[in-house]
Symmetry: C2
Subunit: 119 residues, 2 copies
DNA sequence: TATTGTTATACTCTATAACTATA
DNA sequence: TATAGTTATAGAGTATAACAATA
C-alpha cells in the first residue's frame, strides 16, 4: 500500500479511485450501480466516491436516455488525461513489484499461488 | 479473513486478539506498551483492546513491581485455556491454507515470494 | 524532562436501513 | 412492487494530541 501510494502520489489517486476511472474508461455510459457492483462497492458508499471524482472534474454524471433514475458515467477530458498519467504510475509500480519478485517467471508463480489460496 | 474468522469463530477471537494472547503467553509480565509495540499497535489503541480482553476474563493487568506507571500483563487460566483452543483453530486454518496452496513445497515458495515482495 | 496508561478525537473503510423518484 | 441514487448512521481500524501519575 505504501508503495502504491508512493507511485500514485503524482496523480493523487487511491487504488479504488484508479479502478473506477479505468472501468469507466472501458465502459463509458454505464450506470453508477453497474460500475459499483463490478468493483464490489456498495452503491451507498459509491455516491461520495463519485461526488469526489466529479468535484475534481475527472468524471461526469449524465442523465441516462432510457431510464430517468440512472446516471450514466463518463470521464471528462481531464479524467482521461489523469488516467493516462495513472497508467504510467501503474506501469512503474508493476515494474517495481516485478523486480522485487525476481522476474516474470517468479511473478507468474506468485500469481498462480495467490489464485490457489483464494480460489 | 473470512476463512480465518470461520476457523476462529469457536473462540471468538480476531487476528489481533489472538496475536496479543499468544504474545502475552510467551512473555508474561511485560508492560502494555511493550506488547503493543511488538505488534505494531499504538498504545492509545491498545487500551480498549486490553479492556475488552480483560472484560472477557482472558487477561489481567497487575501493577508492576519496579515501575508504578506500568501494567504487567498476564493471561488468566481461562485465557490460557482459550489460547489452547485458538492454537487448534490456527492449526486447522494453516492446514486449510496448506492444502489450497498444494503442499509444503508450494507454501515455502509462496512465503519466499511474499518476503521478496515486502522486503 | 521523559515515559505509561489513558481519554478524546478524527479519518478511512465498510455495512445496513430508509427515503425519493422513477420504473 | 422493484430499482437507482441518495442520505444517515454505525462499526471497525488507525492516527494524533493532550492529560495525570510516575520516573
Amino acid at each position: 500500500m505504501q508503495r502504491f501510494l508512493h507511485h500514485f502520489s503524482v496523480v493523487s489517486l487511491r487504488p479504488t479511485e484508479y479502478s473506477v476511472l479505468a472501468l469507466i474508461a472501458e465502459n463509458p455510459g454505464r450506470k453508477q450501480s453497474e460500475i459499483a457492483a463490478a468493483l464490489g462497492i456498495q452503491r451507498a458508499n459509491f455516491v461520495s466516491l463519485m461526488n469526489d471524482l466529479e468535484g475534481r472534474c475527472l468524471t461526469e454524471r449524465r442523465s441516462a436516455p432510457n431510464d430517468r433514475r440512472s446516471h450514466a458515467l463518463y470521464l471528462t477530458v481531464s479524467g482521461e488525461n489523469l488516467l493516462n498519467h495513472a497508467r504510467r504510475a501503474e506501469a512503474d509500480f508493476e515494474a517495481d513489484c516485478l523486480e522485487r519478485l525476481g522476474g516474470a517467471r517468479a511473478r507468474d508463480q506468485f500469481l498462480a499461488l495467490l489464485s490457489r489460496l483464494f480460489s
